[in-house]
Symmetry: C2
Subunit: 486 residues, 2 copies
Amino acid sequence: MGAGPTLKRIDPNLMALAYAIHSQMLQAADQIARAIGQDNVSYDTDVLEHHGHSDWSTSNSPVRAAAVVYPRTTADVSAIARICNALSVPMVPFGAGSSVEGNFSQPHSGICIDFSHMDQIIAFHPDDMDVVVQPGVNWVDLNRHIAHAGLFAPLDPSPTATIGGMVSTNCSGTNAMRYGTMKDWVLNLTVVLADGTVIKTRRRPRKTSAGYNLTSLFVGAEGTLGIVTEATLKLAPIPQDTSVAVVAFGSIRDAAAAASELIRSGIQLAALELMDDVQMRILNEHGSEAVRRRKWEEKPTLFVKFSGTTDGIKSDAARVGEIIRGSAQLHFAKSKQEEQDLWAARKEALFTMVNIRPRGTEIWSTDVAVPVSRLAEIIDLSKRECGQLGIFASVIGHVGDGNFHVAMMYDPRDEEQKRAVARCVHNMMSRALEMEGTVSGEHAIGIGKKDCLVDELGQDTIGLMRTVKRAVDPKWVMNPGKVFDR
Amino acid sequence: MGAGPTLKRIDPNLMALAYAIHSQMLQAADQIARAIGQDNVSYDTDVLEHHGHSDWSTSNSPVRAAAVVYPRTTADVSAIARICNALSVPMVPFGAGSSVEGNFSQPHSGICIDFSHMDQIIAFHPDDMDVVVQPGVNWVDLNRHIAHAGLFAPLDPSPTATIGGMVSTNCSGTNAMRYGTMKDWVLNLTVVLADGTVIKTRRRPRKTSAGYNLTSLFVGAEGTLGIVTEATLKLAPIPQDTSVAVVAFGSIRDAAAAASELIRSGIQLAALELMDDVQMRILNEHGSEAVRRRKWEEKPTLFVKFSGTTDGIKSDAARVGEIIRGSAQLHFAKSKQEEQDLWAARKEALFTMVNIRPRGTEIWSTDVAVPVSRLAEIIDLSKRECGQLGIFASVIGHVGDGNFHVAMMYDPRDEEQKRAVARCVHNMMSRALEMEGTVSGEHAIGIGKKDCLVDELGQDTIGLMRTVKRAVDPKWVMNPGKVFDR
């Protein structure tokens, strides 16, 4: 999907020089099998394929790993790293495979490390409001498991995502407006370095200013600096109550202006999401039964989520009403059922679009973020450009953070259309950078956006990242080909 | 003050080999004078003394810088770095001099870089809720300057602190429970690296997952990886309303238990602070006039700060009342004046103690933080130990974060008493580490706690910090002697 892998800047001869050849990779897999057990190593073609490609991803690589290995402990991962590092074999961690920028693809082949057997909650400390987990834990399962204590991990990426991948991409989702992103919820990480050394970035205090913030260095590094084998996450109290309101506007600009006022008001919203007229039409036509109980206005719509005490929400809702009044009509959920239905509309938007796409077409989803004052302008310009190109495109925005996704549908066999989409994406990213934004609000860089990252930060800043990478992983074996090139 | 400089592990011959000798440092100063202007370089003994020692600091070094330089621009700082790096001259940034762990002392001499001339607000973007500032900007001034837009930077360290130092120590204060620490409020940093290269860690999006989080690498690195010359800070809306309540308990354990329940309740408090019986007695006896309007119960007391909408606060206050009821009597401020007076009691606590100390005595203030469930225990044990040693000690705690300070008074000429205090401090830190805490909640490491940091994180984790440091600053000229040794 997308523009395909961006391997163009890597000389194949250099690759061969830099990394072990295939037979040596198999030797490494063999050594790993001896270290962690034959049953924990797979060479099965279907398994390799599943671990090397994603239909959800904007970028993929045609290269596959030599083997997939399944560690069960930090010591297993350390053994794997020692072997791979000694033989110059790339190591690529794999969580749920739900990332969308080719973050787990294997452009240099190597060993894919699957964390599905490291899926244990190691320690839950309700009184400290934290939990220690292995990287293969799914966040939905985790939240279900700890809900009895009135606590939750307040991130909401793909429902299949696991903690390791969430840490490595610095994920977020609709909760980010109130709760921030993954980096704000990690207290410490246990990490296996390239040579197998195991470090722990912190003990377990909720607040510290002791030494370098290595935790945040690994969060969002996409496994290029080390492999996360354990994480302690801060937890938040589950709010006493929640509520949802929706409000439709005459234009994206009006919606964004209202969003801006809400953000500035100081009312602590749980989420503030935007869907454009196209998305709303899709809900009417193809939404789930629950969502189609309501006849949606096919206009740019804000979804406002409240959370807190029941009284606090009443007060917040009244203030939101005052701010919006005059420009549009707010509709508040009148029951818990309606609240769920309204929010379901927001949550199922992307899936609905993927499901209804004509056979053979693919979806390219962008992820830029800009300072919030520029949001209306960039969404407006981007929609107009897509319109001129005759591409089907819809917008979902985490407007509370200035982050939005444009999902563009195209036929990958239609070269001209594909080029048009690529141009559209490129222009959107350039525009975001002109507005002092970022090319990646929450999907990270992976293999597809390395050039964009250079455009965003410049060679000197990437140079510093490269200096750190080279020092920590001198053989460049940790998830190579991601974030930036050697 | 305190245990004095901890230079014991540095061989003086190695120092001489590693860094330029004094005459070469003066040559560097001379080159800097040519680059940034003669008026911006000082060799004055009083100036050097002022920049090399602090009565507020638990650790100091007897060594002084060869010169103090006053850059006005990022280009000036870049020129300074180029010169110092070429000649192997240490560079030590200096903000307000309000840090307390010898963070700006110059154990290896070198050039002290004073940022008092880089005190400009470069750009204020109220619609994006951020502000771009130079490192010499004082946070109180900043908040005064932007208050008209209904925004503020929600940190509250020493009122004299400036942004550069706040970034470099990852400061916090009483607002941390609600708003987090400095690392949570920095969107990007412009940093001069050891060789003079200027990098910017990010553009200006409020949310991003693009590349390594270099911003967080520099926050809390105490200037050992680079010199911050510009920072973009996120801002928060000033809450519509605030309120304060106080509640006295029979014991520290009861107070901490109540605090724990409040934290778990999900009520979003603005702050939750604890002062012990000793601190309360000091307020009655030596507080300011405003504070002495009230006769304080001389018992462990929680200070609860509310913020939000007026109605929201009413609802929060009612819930706090329900939780506390039965164990103690809550007193809510009945007017804005009383609210100010109550909070003033908390804010002036440390200053009052410093002011009333007998001539010749000094105060050693600790800064450990532990998982919140262990807070009552460690405060209790620490108080008891101080009591047994006959040392005057009082406790102020940011209990919402598990962080607290014990201020111990001692006579530095009394060797036995000094040793007793040192032992008490050491035991408190060991206890905090056993409880999976940290030796530094918000004061950073500086020169006095390097050994403790090794105890806290272990040699492998410090080894990774050292690897990063060595790669980024190969000549080890950026604020050497801080955080960890070479």
